[in-house]
């Protein structure tokens, strides 16, 4: 069972209280972008083995979107952080495979 702590209300929320929002920090490409960039924005995802940054919404709770850093191999949660950033905080970043 995946349990994430909502960074807004501090509630330790079970996975079933949350709505998943897919990979985080995907660069947005809209009108004027090349076809390749738009395709990457819409469809291409990293799907890494290891540390993964994700978007989640505290749907059955305070309703806020937030980010989570999670290891896809161990299912361990590295941390959660607010949605108003474009990249993960330094303390939740680590070299791949470490």
């Amino acid at each position: 069972m995946l349990i994430l702590t909502c960074p807004y209300c501090g509630v330790r929320a079970d996975e079933t209280e949350l709505a998943p929002g897919g990979e985080a920090h995907v660069a947005r490409h809209g009108p004027g972008a090349s076809d390749e960039a738009f395709e990457a924005y819409l469809f291409l995802r990293a799907n890494p083995r290891g540390l993964h940054y994700e978007r989640w919404r505290h749907a059955h709770g305070c309703g806020k979107w937030f980010h989570a850093a999670r290891d896809t191999v161990t299912m361990g949660v590295v941390g959660t952080y607010p949605a108003q950033v474009t990249e993960p905080p330094a303390e939740l970043s680590r070299p791949r495979g470490s």
Binding site: C9, D14, E17, H60, C62
Partner: protein, 190 residues
């Protein structure tokens, strides 16, 4: 025009705990930054603004935390419209939303031994119902089986359960079923 009612049937179920329909209550949604509207709102309602995951009450009205920018005011059903209008006037200069939502949700009151109350709710929600995670005075918005709900402790030690009125019959069934005398587990201790 239909008369306002909370559920189709009057609920009173006695089992591990007693499940009752709390009846009609005024419920006013207050949305806005605490720093902008907290003072004016607190003066109008006569209650302090609750901390995160807390409820403040004077026995007559209660102010519950709902999200970082949302509060729910519980008051008498008949005074809700007037109170909402006064709140809207008091916060008119701020970026805020005040709305009488009394018909949107239903309240249930659960009374009984604290351990039994925790046990009945633990059957329905993934939220941690242990004392250290859900102490008296706390409100927890969570999931009750398949729908959203909120649970909090009233001053008298009873438990309040709130859900949308559209799923009130479903939640009433859930609560009565979870409180059935034959479903005792005994995981929580007084």
């Amino acid at each position: 025009m239909f008369d306002a009612a909370t559920t189709k049937e009057t609920t009173r179920f006695e089992g591990l705990v007693t499940v009752e329909d709390t009846g009609l209550a005024g419920m006013i949604t207050i949305r806005g930054a605490r720093s902008e509207i907290g003072g004016a709102m607190s003066d109008t309602v006569g209650l302090p603004v609750p901390e995160t995951l807390r409820v403040t009450t004077d026995g007559r009205r209660s102010l519950a935390w709902m999200s970082p920018d949302e509060l729910m005011l519980f008051c008498g059903h008949e005074e809700a419209a007037d109170l909402a209008a006064r709140l809207a006037e008091a916060t008119a200069r701020a970026h805020a939303l005040i709305l009488d939502m009394s018909d949107a949700r239903t309240l249930f009151t659960l009374t009984g031994a604290e351990a039994s109350l925790r046990e009945v709710l633990a059957k329905l929600t993934p939220a941690d119902m242990r004392t250290q995670a859900f102490p008296r005075g706390m409100i927890r918005r969570t999931r009750l089986a398949q729908v959203s709900g909120a649970i909090w402790w009233a001053d008298d030690g009873s438990l309040r359960v709130m859900c949308f009125r559209s799923v009130a019959d479903y939640v009433r069934g859930l609560l009565c079923h979870a409180a059935h005398p034959a479903s005792w587990v005994g995981h929580f201790r007084d």
